[in-house]
């Protein structure tokens, strides 16, 4: 076997090196598959800007940032779940439970940090329940989280006093939802919730891409049997993943409460799961697991947010938006399947070419 001193010549393989070309560096960061997403985003922005002058202005753009922060947080967690070959459709309901619980904490117990903490912690606990159903009861994740979607929604109503939303009048708490930083002169300021999203996205991207945990997520999603045979503890991983997803859902629910100044059992959080899952698939994840990135998911979240915002500015009825979202989910998954089929065909060709 070659010894370590041969390392210099061992590189007939190009080792991945930091790119000197800034354009190449950006491409590497975004990921080549997401490039088409980025282009679609640019095209959309240009299109909308030509139709209305109100789109490409700082106030509106920052509003978009604020609007996508809830779905964005959910999508960070969902990326981990889908890459691991799982699914969590209960995220909306978890957010609902967190929303009402944080409202109770803030309004009746007069504690803002307490409210945030309880929301996130409850989300984590509900995520752990999901993980238990999936690992110990061996229920398929789709069915398991479909069941908990319903159960958690009921839970949210049970927690709400009288089953109704609670008004939250705490100023400090409201900052979380609609507060801004760097409000200077005419600059509208960056929404705090958007900053939270950016922080979570950067952290999530880093963890998924560069940590042992993150790489193990890719492994177990790509081939659970191989991952197990390589020593990865699938049960433990699933707990971490669903708890992460649950905690982020909890945080998202807290932000909904802060933004609307009311704890909502449902109306602030319904439909979130569709948009979240669509974003992750649009962002490059595949049904079979093992592929997908946080950057991709965030680009997709941005795309959907821009689409929504643009349609609003242009006065297009909301129902068209729903149709568009459904359509985009189908397109996203179909592209993924198409890529996989093409790769398989390529593999068969390679295999057939090797003669004995």
């Amino acid at each position: 076997m070659a010894n370590m001193s041969d390392q210099g010549t061992a590189g007939q393989i190009a080792a991945p090196r930091a790119s000197s070309n800034p354009l190449r560096a950006v491409t590497q960061f975004i990921g080549p598959e997401n490039l088409s997403l980025l282009i679609a985003l640019v095209v959309l922005v240009v299109l909308i800007s030509t139709q209305t002058p109100y789109f490409f202005v700082p106030r509106n753009l920052l509003n978009v940032g604020m609007n996508i922060s809830v779905v964005g947080l959910l999508a960070v967690g969902m990326t981990f779940v889908i890459v691991s070959n799982g699914l969590d459709i209960s995220v909306g309901s978890i957010a609902g439970v967190a929303s009402i619980s944080s409202a109770i904490m803030v309004t009746y117990l007069h504690t803002v940090p307490g409210g945030i903490l309880v929301g996130v912690a409850l989300g984590a606990v509900l995520g752990a329940v999901n993980a238990t159903i999936i690992t110990y009861l061996r229920v398929n994740p789709v069915v398991a989280t479909l069941a908990t979607l319903s159960a958690y929604q009921g839970l949210a109503f049970l927690i709400a006093p009288g089953g109704r939303p609670i008004g939250v009048l705490d100023q400090n708490f409201a900052l979380l939802g609609s507060g801004r930083l760097f409000e200077v002169g005419t600059f509208p300021g960056i929404p705090i919730s958007f900053i939270l999203l950016v922080v979570a996205a950067i952290a999530g991207h880093f963890v998924l891409r560069s940590t042992v945990f993150g790489r193990s997520v890719y492994a177990m999603g790509g081939n659970p049997a191989a991952a197990r045979l390589a020593g990865i503890n699938l049960t433990r991983m699933k707990y971490y993943i669903y708890i992460l997803s649950g905690a982020l859902s909890g945080l998202a629910g807290v932000i909904v409460t802060a933004r609307t100044s009311s704890g909502q059992p449902t109306s602030g959080t319904a439909g979130l799961e569709l948009e979240t899952i669509t974003s992750v698939f649009l962002g490059g994840a595949i049904l079979a697991g093992g592929k997908g990135t946080v950057v991709g998911s965030m680009l997709a979240v941005l795309l959907l947010g821009v689409l929504s915002n643009g349609m609003n500015l242009l006065g297009i009825p909301t129902f068209y938006q729903l149709v568009a979202k459904g359509f985009l989910l189908v397109v996203a998954v179909a592209i993924g399947q198409f890529r996989m089929a093409r790769a398989e065909k390529q593999q068969a060709k390679t295999a057939a070419q090797v003669k004995s």
């Binding site: 061992a10 393989i13 080792a15």
Partner: protein, 498 residues
């Protein structure tokens, strides 16, 4: 009785890396039983699949009672009269025996299934086959014993229009009594003038029931013997005896005497009291027929499958069962047979797959250091001569041989004291095979203990220091390299005395 009912002429078939059948010509007469024998990979199942229409031969013809069935699909082959009784019956659990037998060919009254007619015909078929009383046409699929399931497979084959029946390892789940009943049936079928093909590893059965024996080896027909005029020894000798892996020789080493792996008293669903030891620098070869339980043994040792009792000791310390992670912590590595299904993550890169088993070692505070990953993996890629455009290449895009090397690279990175290799050169081209042999030799030279499972006799003989043979859930005593012969090993694998 005149004229062959089945005429196979010049049939050849090749797969991407392997030539499975070469210019095979053979005929089966009416009222005759021809046995097909051969080692793993000799081509028996490929031939059966060509006869049944599941595969299409690259060249040559198959003529059944004057009708050319060389290019038909399975349904047409069945209708023409060629029926294969599969080794593993495929039974639909929640419908009756009669429905299973008439699956896809239900008797109809107009547009509606005629259940009564189906039941009646099934009862008649059972009568003809001598199965009346053995099972009822109304028995539910999931309540049937293995022998009863087998009867359903047989009855399916004996529906009207049958001309040639091929039995594929029919007695693997039968008792002696049931086997006798099967033989009685086969004799009756002979009297009806059918042609019968009997594929089996069980020599005494072959001697008992067949009129002629066709011996296959490496896709070639070595010869067809009159059963009455030959012996088991002659047949076995014909099955083996090719050149050893050309030109490959182990480097001579003096091996340290340290015992690295001690396995004792393993009992599980597949194994009875299995035990062995491997010393540092030694390669212990595991021979046996497909399905003998070698892969299962590897997985039991590696913690992937459960065991009822028994111990596994690494350098004296017991390896706790329960998960592969524990085995890996005890410095055992396992390169599985099914590299795509269990070995590789096809959508991930070469470098990720290669470092999969050592993520924690290549990280600090949980963060993977890509420089450490490259430093560890690049030398392995080079020394294994893995051909890939870059470390980031998706492993699914590499050729079979290179994929296998990535699996090996993974375990080399983990530096185990014991490495279990399950069919390491399966579907690997000749060039890469030689490289992998060289690598295995180097590993042994460096002191690694190796458990080598292989169905390729020359490979096993060339690489192993000692060989054990698995049969009937038990492991034979180890055979020294100098005393090992293909014939001897095959006989042990077949369950005969050495």
């Amino acid at each position: 009785m005149s004229g062959a009912i089945l005429e196979i002429s010049g049939v050849s078939k090749a797969f991407p890396n392997v030539r499975a059948l070469s210019n095979l010509s053979l005929s089966v007469e009416r009222g005759e039983v021809v046995a097909f024998v051969g080692e793993n990979g000799a081509g028996k199942s490929t031939l059966l699949k060509i006869l049944s229409g599941d595969y299409r031969a690259d060249s040559g013809t198959v003529v059944l009672d004057g009708q050319d069935i060389s290019h038909v699909d399975p349904k047409e082959a069945r209708e023409a009269g060629l029926r294969v009784v599969r080794q593993e019956p495929e039974i639909v659990p929640h419908v009756t025996a009669a429905e299973n037998i008439y699956l896809g060919e239900f008797p109809r009254r107009g547009n509606v299934v005629d259940f009564r007619e189906m039941r009646r015909r099934t009862a008649d078929l059972f009568e003809e086959g001598g199965f009346t009383g053995f099972l009822s046409p109304d028995a539910m699929g999931d309540r049937l014993s293995p022998a009863q399931k087998h009867v359903i497979e047989i009855t399916r084959a004996l529906k009207p229009g049958v001309k040639v029946v091929a039995f594929d390892e029919p007695t693997s789940s039968l008792t002696a009594e049931e086997t006798e009943r099967l033989f009685a049936l086969i004799r009756r079928l002979k009297e009806r003038g059918l042609g019968i093909i009997y594929v089996s590893h069980r020599m005494h059965e072959v001697m008992a029931i067949s009129d002629r024996v066709a011996v296959l080896r490496d896709g070639h027909l070595m010869g067809v013997l009159q059963t009455a005029e030959t012996t088991q020894e002659t047949i076995v000798r014909m099955m083996v005896g090719r050149d050893l892996a050309k030109g490959f020789e182990r480097t001579d080493t003096t091996r340290p005497n340290e015992t690295v792996l001690e396995v004792g008293g393993i009992n599980s669903i597949w194994h009875r009291d299995v035990g062995f030891t491997i010393r540092a620098g030694e390669i212990l070869g595991f021979a046996g027929l497909v399905g003998a339980g070698r892969t299962e043994l590897a997985k039991v040792i590696f913690g992937e499958y459960a065991r009822n009792s028994g111990t596994v000791r690494m350098l004296g310390r017991e390896v706790p069962p329960g998960s592969p992670a524990k085995a890996i912590r005890s410095n055992i590595g396992f390169a599985p047979e099914d590299r795509k299904g269990e070995g590789l993550i096809l959508v991930r890169s070469v470098i990720e797959n290669a470092s999969l088993a050592v993520f924690s070692a290549l990280s600090r505070w949980g963060i993977l250091r890509s420089r450490m990953m490259v430093e560890t993996v690049a030398p392995l890629i080079a020394s294994l001569d893995i051909k890939t455009p870059s470390l980031e290449q998706e492993v699914g895009k590499l050729s079979g041989g290179n994929q296998q090397k990535v699996v090996l690279a993974r375990w080399l990175a983990a530096k185990p004291r014991v490495l279990i290799l399950d069919e390491p050169t399966r579907a690997v081209d000749v060039g890469a095979k030689a490289e992998i042999y060289r690598l295995i030799d180097d590993l042994a030279k460096s002191g690694m203990a190796i458990m080598l499972i292989s169905s390729e006799m020359p490979e096993l003989l060339a690489l192993s220091d000692r060989i054990v043979v698995m049969h009937g859930g038990r492991l034979s005593a180890p055979i020294e390299k100098s005393a090992a012969t293909e014939e001897g090993i095959l006989r042990l694998a077949l369950g005969q005395a050495a």
